[in-house]
């Protein structure tokens, strides 16, 4: 952090000399410990009698472009064009002046006072003014010395052309490129890629390469250990699918995955890696901006493995609301949420998420002593730049600290990004025309005990919020059995079996011939201690699918609870017959037989 502050100071000082065009500068410049080259450049300008000094590419502009822009704006980088050579920069001089003045570039939305975060390189007002002067002066190149050096920017490169984290241990690519249509403002497509590992591995890093930086704008990445995502992808004959990432696709063990241009998550230390199981799928949602002609899109993902199991595991906290309901035209709709941590934690990173109507995004921590620390402040939220903000030094927060968020939305016509014109009521939902408001906070507890405490304390909060989201989705799609089933499972987790039963009953009504639907309903009824009804549902499931081993098993358990031992044993025998290799089935049968022998009235 300090290093770049010094660098800025030096640049500004040198730049000021060029303006004043004063001779004593030559004597002073080396005293700052700057490369001698700055002094030499100055000498050339004066010797050639260029008159009143204006900023020039070689001396003033190039060092800035290399330091702040070239990470993305280099040949093969993630930006749509390079800014490395004079010829490149000159062709964008006015554009550079405009987009730095309006703070569109460099794309850093957080208040510069927050953090410090990894990769935070804001331009100072003086630097932006200099770029404007340079463009207005006709984008002069500067001295001949630099031209002789091949017109390359003088400072050493801060990027590499290939993988930023080095050669990956495993590279995953799309088997077939996706063709992005010519037209549209924002396009989304979800790709599901099996991760071919023969054994479980410990992942220290994931690097995403967009493949076609002209159109790929950001990537939302999750992993799915269930076949849910894969099935959605397989149902669409073209590469990937349109729609939503299923809830079974998650961040692994509390780690962020994802990519925005210019950001590469650093490799994790071995003790903080995450465990990748066999048969896991990578779920990659690409946000793309069509270019005006059909484009081939073929991103690749590199994985980096460590040798040892992690000893620390982060927890991904999520503040936010899923009952968002913004009236049409409301320019100042606010949501708030908070959570008090029951253990000491270190905040590693934060990532705000919202769609097009959010404009003011804030997160902060209030310590037990009442003092406050900013987590993130974004005064002009832009959906297109959803960075993960990683603290250079993790923020230590004691037990009892309250994490809070406050997001404000503009659903009026004055918000140019509003996806609905004229504005319409906007409710919570994952589609980009709907609205969201989450603040993800990655924290690392001190040890395994605290991890467990925190996870168990936090889980009901997030499950309750997810329930609100599902209920809102179900209002929109009342016939979607998947939604009813998912929310029913959440209700079971929250100990509200009655609500779970109601949703599974709806699923049964929608799909009366589904053995699974009856089985699920039976399970919820069992949890709700409505055993006779539960047995009825299991029997219905078995009437439809007599070989449904889990239904036999659960029916056996109900019968056991009703002390109908012979009937229970019959069911467990059937499970063993259907699953002769299952140790659990044999164990259940043995337990039932043992219970029958001990029955009190015999």
């Amino acid at each position: 952090m300090k290093a770049w502050l010094v660098a800025i100071a030096v640049l500004v000082v040198v730049h000021d000399f060029s303006h004043a065009n004063v001779a004593p500068a030559f004597g002073v410049a080396p005293a700052f410990g700057v490369a001698q080259a700055f002094g030499v450049a100055q000498a050339f300008g004066v010797a050639q009698g260029l008159g009143p000094a204006v900023p020039v590419f070689t001396k003033d502009v190039a060092p800035l472009l290399v330091d702040r822009c070239a990470t993305c704006h280099h040949p093969g980088g993630s930006a749509p064009f390079s800014l490395l050579t004079y010829a490149d920069a000159k062709r964008h001089a006015s554009q550079i002046a405009v987009v730095t003045t309006n703070r569109f570039m460099p794309p850093w939305k957080a208040d510069p006072a927050d953090g410090p975060f990894v990769g935070q390189h804001p331009l100072s007002a003086g630097e932006i003014g200099m770029l404007r002067q340079w463009a207005d002066a006709g984008a002069p190149e500067g001295d001949a010395l630099r031209q002789a050096q091949g017109r390359r920017a003088p400072a050493s490169p801060v990027w590499t052309d290939g993988w930023q984290l080095g050669k990956p241990d495993l590279v995953i690519t799309l088997p077939q490129a996706y063709t992005l249509p010519a037209e549209g403002t924002d396009a989304f497509r979800i790709f599901v890629l099996p991760i071919p590992v023969a054994t479980a591995r410990f992942v220290r890093g994931l690097e995403f390469r967009p493949g076609n930086p002209k159109v790929v704008h950001h990537a939302n990445i999750r992993i799915d250990t269930t076949p849910a995502s894969r099935r959605l992808d397989e149902a669409d004959p073209a590469p990937g699918y349109d729609g939503l990432i299923p809830r079974s696709a998650t961040y692994p063990d509390g780690h962020f995955l994802g990519w925005t241009p210019g950001q590469v998550a650093p490799l994790l230390p071995n003790d903080l890696s995450w465990r990748l199981e066999k048969h896991t799928d990578l779920v990659v949602e690409l946000h793309m901006q069509p270019s005006g002609k059909p484009e081939q899109v073929s991103p690749s993902i590199g994985l980096y493995f460590g040798d040892t199991a992690p000893t620390r595991t982060p927890v991904m906290l999520r503040l936010g609301r899923q009952n968002i309901d913004i009236p049409a035209g409301d320019a100042n709709y606010t949501i708030t949420d908070s959570y008090t941590v029951p253990v000491d934690v270190e905040v590693e990173a934060v990532q705000p998420h919202a769609h097009y109507r959010a404009h003011d995004v804030r997160g902060e921590a209030t310590l037990p002593d009442g003092s406050k620390k900013a987590l993130i402040d974004i005064a002009d939220w832009d959906f297109r730049w959803q960075h993960v903000y990683r603290f250079v030094t993790p923020m230590r927060l004691p037990k009892g600290t309250t994490l809070s968020m406050r997001y404000t939305y503009d659903n009026s016509a004055a918000n140019a990004r509003n996806p609905q014109q004229p504005p319409a009521r906007a409710r919570w939902g994952q589609l980009s025309a709907e609205e969201m408001g989450d603040l993800w906070i990655q924290v690392v507890p001190r040890d395994g005990r605290d991890l467990d405490l925190l996870s168990r304390d936090f889980r009901p909060k997030v499950a309750a919020e997810d329930v609100r989201g599902y209920e809102s989705e179900i209002e929109k799609h009342p016939g979607d059995t998947g939604l009813h089933n998912d929310v029913a499972l959440l209700y079971l987790e929250l100990g509200r079996a009655d609500h779970a039963v109601a949703h599974f009953q709806t699923s049964v009504a929608l799909k009366p011939q589904s053995a699974v639907a009856h089985y699920n309903l039976g399970t919820a009824l069992t949890v709700g201690r409505r055993l006779d009804e539960a047995a009825g549902e299991y029997r219905e499931a078995l009437r439809i699918d007599p070989a449904y081993a889990n239904a036999h098993n659960n029916l056996g358990n109900v019968l056991l609870a009703q002390q109908r031992f012979d009937d229970a044993i019959r069911e467990f025998r059937e499970v063993v017959r259907l699953q002769p290799e299952s140790a659990a089935a044999k164990k259940n049968l043995a337990a039932a037989i043992a219970a029958a022998e001990k029955k009190p009235h015999d």
Binding site: K90, K214, D382
Partner: protein, 181 residues
Amino acid sequence: MYHRSVIFLPLLAILVQALSGAPVDALQAPAGAKAIVFLFTSTECPISNRYAPEVHRIAKSFASKGVVFRLVYPSPSEDAAAIREHMAAFSYAGSADAVRDPKSALVKFVGATVTPEAAIFANGRIVYRGRIDDRFVDLGRERPAPTERDLFDALTAVVAGTPVPHATTQAVGCFISDLVR
């Protein structure tokens, strides 16, 4: 400013280059044409390129009404081969023809500052100059869909013989001053 001078000097020719390299008068319309739409563009400007499907749509809507579309490439470094390649990539054949304006003769005549920027030449003068629509509010700020289709509305007025609603609008895109450096 310039289009006023046209009223006084109606015979003024604005010399640009055909892709063959031959000098041509940009204002010379094919027989029967009611209006020429100049569309200032560049092979590299992403904003111009993203408008290609909309340009095709507008060109198609007015093709039978005596409106011709002419792409204007002001960058001296974009040669005929690069332009032909660009037109093929974005399927401009059939929608528009193209001229080079390496000396910015037409840029100055129209007062164009960015790509994409449109100008309509009809009845011996420029009757509209500005954006295609209001999708781009600023560099980095974009509407999901336009709320004003200025070029379309101006052409509708020209074809109907009624006044153009807004004779000039502010276009957002890549600066021509950068392209001609």
